[in-house]
């Protein structure tokens, strides 16, 4: 065993360490003056001193910037009076560190073979006066996540060995199954009847398969349930809302909907786009970095596994956390602080997404106390594929089952059933095996080679291994034919896995192919040429059975029909009572400048530049409108536009809408508003509604509670109503239910959260419009009608109120307005356009001004009102839907007005060169006067980390 410690040379600043110093100061420990990070490598091999020296100098150490020691890093000799603390943090046994594989490869290149294992660790050298409690706080709050890491107290003597596995077939009594697998009474009855007919007991693999396949995560039983709400009975909620609108609209450009891993639409007759958004909430709560990384890794495999395989071309990320300034002392036991979750999730998504070379161009970050123990991490991926490859593939009996990509380990076992369960205080300890560390390079290699195999037509069908691992992927793919899999052929990361563990492991970076036998050799050779694992693990049969063998023993033999259609439909009661929060009763302040600064500086509205810049949003060279726009490249763009085919003029707009605050008043209007918001963003950047497709992601609390289920039904109904009028079909979706947390007998449920993601096809990207003001002297139009709709608004939030008048949507008006406005943008009559959302007119005009580096003079008196509103603050901060601020050059006004004839709009002001935002109220008095610098600073300051 050799140990090498590598550190930056003393004269060089340690950026990683300095970041930690800031984090430590944020913990309220100001005494730390410096931190340096040392990389530790343990090499389990017998190396000659010369070989070890070679490994250090040629591989582990940078000769310009680093120095190294064999064995322990010498304790630094500080100046008199300074203290040094040294903490070594290593991965727990069983956690696979992706770096180990790379080092072994690199050592082979150097001619060093016979390496048994590599382990990496980090040493933190912390300078400053610290008591034991403070040091413990730094370790537990910043350096160590006990789920995957520990502080090394003494030198480990050896690498722990994996346990051996000896085959024995495990048969289970049905009565044992309830406890272990969480089946419902009806499900148990169905299973029991099935096996009685077979005249035998089920094996553990069979019950695991049923548990995985019938889990909420895989089969969405709540959305397919028979739900009784008042007098109405809804037989299959999703079929009667989200899927129904798509069926009724029957758009010819919808190529594959609700049938595959992602929804597919036509782009330009030659190419197609597919889009999917998933959540990875529970794992991110426990281990933010790894959880979020595997979230992005998982959703990228959805387009890759759609049709015959799409190239991932864009990522979107939406996060919901508790506020970063949540008091540490109020943190429940077992819960990570929201700041740490935020930073960990961001890093996980960025490190994985950046390495895959997929630009992250769209997203949002929202904050609410109730996401404290249950953060939401939505990851989405857009894919591009030739149109003729859009339909899902179909295997023939005799085709081979080929598993490609990463090896299988004990990672994420029971992730699916875990995702559908409540989190408890003990989750952190018990869910250890559900957490995985992803390896983005394995996935990148897989993407590269799969697209080549696709273009050579070497497989007949493809799907991803996601939740439920092989059990879901094989079970689903083989449903129409039957399939036989030899579990002992699955390549393993390490020995010791039982056949059932192999079957349900959720190891990342794996895909499943159906390969005609005559293509097998070419396919396996192709994968070998780029060092990507590909192994035949079985064959498709014509017998409509799921047969699993391990070392020649039949360990699972299930009828496909029972597996896929045997799940009894559940029946649920839902209730809905409209909450009536009280309306605000404070008086309107004379000056609204402070209120505007407060809203701009609120966690929800403030700049997310810190997040955005750490994502590579330029890779693939396709961006046309970036997430940050304006004079200094730092204004908040409404939606992103990319040019997916580099030598064409066509584009795709990606947008999202989410507003959980409205759901507290009425989930129906929350859902309607989210759809309106996503569509507004598409219109604001120069798109139109001709070819817009939607995705739904419902994150809800415990739907076994009738009122929470009632809220879900209302939101789904709004999806149907709005999408019908806007003519924007849903093409795919996903739900994550039971997002709640039990703490000291109290249940904290997340707010009902619906994320609507939208893609819009843009014929000519050269017509894109950004939201920053362009030219002093231009006219500012407010398009749309303002109502007294402050319910759930950011303005009431700063007064710690919710209110009752939630923003509603009139989709007939909204559609007409958006259609006309898109004609005006297509004609080049719109210099800038920004959609009105959180913070209403006030926030939108401020953002347009500071993004453009230009002032504005605005009057509230001409604002078109749908009902009498007598207060300046309500007009300025109302969050009524279907509204835009539009900058029009004086010479374009006539034509603009001609196109917009009959639409509710008014000139409310002018762009100025003054560097000041000035707003005048209903009675002509000045109600706001703030410099651009002050506004921008308020907006940028909160997350300048």
């Amino acid at each position: 065993m050799h140990k090498v410690e590598v550190s930056l040379k003393k004269h060089l600043p340690d950026a990683r360490g300095l970041g930690l110093v800031r984090d430590i100061h944020d913990l309220g420990i100001p005494s730390v003056s410096n931190v340096r990070v040392v990389d530790i490598y343990r090499v389990d091999a017998e190396l000659t001193p010369e070989a070890l020296e070679l490994v250090c100098r040629r591989l582990l150490v940078d000769p310009v910037t680093q120095e190294y020691w064999h064995g322990q890093y010498p304790r630094p000799e500080g100046e008199a009076g300074t203290e040094h603390h040294s903490v070594e943090v290593a991965y727990n046994a069983g956690v696979t560190d992706p770096i180990e594989d790379t080092i072994i490869k690199a050592l082979k290149d150097l001619g060093v073979v016979d390496i048994r294992a590599i382990k990496t660790a980090k040493r933190y050298l912390i300078e400053g006066q610290l008591n034991a409690l403070e040091l413990e706080a730094i370790c537990s709050k910043l350096l160590v996540n006990p789920i995957i890491q520990h502080v090394v107290r003494e030198e480990p003597v050896a690498f722990p060995e994996n346990p051996r596995y000896e085959f024995t077939l495990k048969e289970l009594d049905i009565t044992q199954a309830e406890q272990q697998f969480g089946f419902s009474k009806d499900e148990l009855k169905a299973i029991s009847a099935y096996f009685q007919k077979q005249g035998r007991n089920p094996t553990d693999a069979e019950l695991e398969t049923l548990a995985q396949t019938w889990s909420e995560h895989c089969v969405h039983k709540t959305f397919k349930a028979k739900i009784k709400l008042g007098e109405t009975i809804i037989d299959n909620l999703i079929k009667n809302t989200i899927m129904k609108v798509t069926e009724e609209l029957n758009k010819p450009w919808c190529l594959s909907v609700f049938a595959d891993n992602a929804g597919v639409i036509d782009l330009d007759g030659r190419w197609a786009l597919c889009f999917k958004v998933e959540t990875h909430n529970h794992p991110s709560a426990i281990e933010p970095y790894g959880g979020a990384a595997t979230g992005i890794g998982g959703v990228v495999r959805d387009p890759l596994g759609t049709g015959l395989g799409a190239k991932p071309i864009l990522n979107t990320d939406v996060f919901c956390f508790a506020p970063p300034d949540f008091p540490y002392e109020k943190l429940p036991k077992g819960v990570l602080h929201p700041r740490r979750i935020f930073k960990g999730v961001r890093a996980g998504v960025a490190d994985y997404g950046n390495r895959l070379g997929i630009p992250t161009l769209n997203g949002a970050v929202l904050f609410d106390d109730r996401y404290l123990a249950n953060p939401l991490v939505f990851c989405g991926t857009l894919g591009l594929l030739p149109k003729e490859l859009a339909p899902r593939g179909q295997q023939q009996p005799g085709d081979l089952v080929v598993l490609v990509g990463g090896k299988t380990g004990r990672d994420g076992i029971h992730g699916v059933t875990f995702a559908s369960e409540q989190l408890t205080e003990e989750s952190s300890a018990s869910s250890y095996s559900s957490v995985q560390i992803g390896n983005p390079i394995v996935e990148k290699k897989l993407i590269d080679i799969l697209l080549q195999a696709r273009d050579r037509q070497l497989y007949s069908r493809i799907t991803d291994c996601g939740g439920g691992g092989l059990s879901s992927a094989v079970g689903e793919m083989g449903a129409s034919t039957g399939v036989r899999v030899y579990l002992d052929k699955v390549p393993l990361k390490y020995a010791g896995l039982s056949y059932t563990e192999i079957w349900v492991s959720e190891s990342q970076e794996r895909m499943l192919l159906a390969v005609p036998p005559e293509c097998a050799t070419e396919l396996l050779d192709l994968f070998a040429s780029e060092d990507v694992e590909a192994v035949v693990i079985g064959e498709f049969t014509g017998e409509r059975r799921l047969e699993l063998l391990y070392q020649g023993n039949l360990v699972c033999d299930l009828d496909m029909e029972f597996l896929h259609d045997g799940l009894p439909q559940i029946e649920r009661e839902a209730v809905w009572t409209q909450p009536r929060p009280s309306e605000p009763d404070f008086t309107c302040p004379q000056d609204l400048g402070e209120a505007l600064l407060q809203i701009l500086g609120s966690w929800n509205v403030c700049s997310k530049e810190w997040v955005i810049r750490q994502y590579d949003h330029e890779v693939q060279g396709a961006s046309v409108l970036k997430p940050l726009v304006g004079k200094d490249n730092d204004g908040p763009g409404d939606a992103a536009i990319i040019r997916p085919v580099l030598n064409s003029e066509g584009g795709v707009i990606v947008a999202c809408g989410i507003n959980p605050r409205y759901g507290e008043i009425d989930p129906y209007w929350m859902a309607a508003s989210a759809i309106d918001e996503a569509l507004r963003q598409i219109i604001a950047v120069g798109g139109n509604l001709t070819k817009v497709a939607l995705l739904d992601n419902f994150c809800w609390g415990n739907v076994q509670q009738p009122d929470i289920l009632g809220a879900l039904v209302r939101a789904a109904q709004a999806c149907y109503d709005m999408a019908t009028i806007y003519e924007t079909p849903f093409i795919s979706g996903k739900d994550s239910l039971y997002n709640e947390f039990e703490y000291e007998g109290k249940v904290i449920s997340i707010p009902h959260t619906l994320l609507i993601s939208a893609i819009g096809v843009m014929e000519d990207v050269n017509r894109a419009v950004s939201m920053d003001f362009k030219q002093a002297g231009d006219i500012i139009y407010l398009v749309g009608t303002t109502q007294n709709e402050l319910g759930g608004s950011e303005y009431l939030r700063i007064h710690s109120l919710i209110g009752n008048s939630v923003p509603r949507v009139n989709p007939h008006h909204g559609k007409e307005l958006m259609d006309r406005l898109s004609v005006a943008t297509a004609k080049g009559l719109v210099r800038a356009c920004h959609d009105l959302s959180e913070g209403g007119i006030g926030v939108a005009v401020a953002e347009m001004a500071f993004a453009g580096g230009l002032g504005a003079l605005v009057h509230l008196k001409p604002v078109p009102l749908g009902e009498p509103v007598a207060r300046d603050d309500f007009i300025l901060f109302s969050e009524s839907n279907s509204r835009f601020l539009v900058e029009v050059a004086p010479e374009s006004e006539d034509e603009f007005l001609e196109i917009m004839k009959g639409i509710s709009l008014a000139t409310i002001g002018q762009v100025t060169g003054s560097g000041v935002l000035e707003i005048y109220g209903l009675n002509g008095q000045r109600i706001l006067h703030k410099s651009l610098g002050e506004l921008k600073e308020a907006w940028q300051k909160p997350i300048r980390w």
Binding site: V64, I99, I441, E530, E618, K631
Partner: protein, 257 residues
């Protein structure tokens, strides 16, 4: 006239090969994207090409340090082919990860055996991955043929280890080709104009022949006018600033064929 052939090396984690290929194709070259295994296994020949490119990405995850593992692989397994390629007049372009690889492989500057590396790339001073647009100025005294006729450039960077660090005041066999500047072109600037904290504001370097050039910013991400972050304010030019670099390389290679 025969077409210039460009070989873009792919390795596990390479992720800018497609847009780099697009840039060279726009400049008139025939482009092959070749996996490093194919070169090592002699299924493709470097000598059939006039331009070799190591594009951006995170080769081998940038594990241990950015570009290190591919650098060793090139040095140990393709060292002779690359030396022959250079000696026969070939051009080499390294972008982002490509710069990290070329420096650590001892290709830029060319290190004779046993000589220690004196220039490297370290983690950005900000401690962060930085994706932002930067202003650049070409060093007129540099022999770099890729930047001939160019004065200023506006390109994006996207990296976490982009800080040029040197252990000597002067380097043999090396010339600074590109500096980070502010909007006005001043070379004496700090963060965020110099996004990594690079010594002497170095953004790109080349060898003394001018034929081996590597830079941290991504010229392949500014080929069309609509890639400029402010084209919706300032109007879109037909070609982005990065295009001339590819055009220069292809023209030079065509002339010397």
């Amino acid at each position: 006239m025969a077409k210039v052939r460009t070989l873009i090396i792919r390795a596990p984690g390479t992720n800018c090969d497609a847009e780099t290929a697009f840039a060279f194709q726009q400049a008139g070259a025939i482009v092959s994207r070749v996996h490093v295994n194919q070169l090592i296994r002699r299924q493709e020949q470097l000598s059939n090409h006039q331009i070799l490119v190591i594009p951006g990405g995170f080769t081998y995850g940038d594990d241990i340090s950015a570009g290190k593992v591919l650098a060793n692989e090139l040095r140990l397994k393709l060292g002779e082919d690359i030396r022959n390629f250079i000696d026969s007049g070939g051009l080499i372009l390294g972008i982002c990860n490509g710069l990290q690889v070329l420096v650590k492989a001892g290709i830029l500057p060319r290190l004779s055996n046993g000589k220690e590396q004196t220039i490297t790339l370290a983690a950005n001073d900000s401690g962060k991955f930085e994706c932002r647009w930067v202003y650049l100025k070409v060093n007129e005294d540099s022999p770099c043929l890729f930047t001939k006729g160019i004065d200023r450039l506006y390109l994006p960077v996207a990296n976490g280890e982009g800080k040029v660090v040197t252990s000597a005041d002067t380097f043999s066999g090396l010339s600074i080709a590109l500096y980070y500047t502010d909007e006005q072109g001043n070379t004496n600037v700090g963060y965020p104009h110099n996004p990594s904290g690079s010594e002497k504001n170095i953004a790109g370097i080349c060898d003394t022949s001018g034929r081996i050039f590597a830079l941290m910013p991504h010229p392949e991400r500014h080929i069309r006018g609509t890639q400029h972050p402010r084209w919706t304010r300032e109007g879109a030019k037909k070609y982005g600033d990065g295009f001339q670099i590819f055009l220069n390389a292809v023209r030079w290679a065509a002339k010397s064929m």
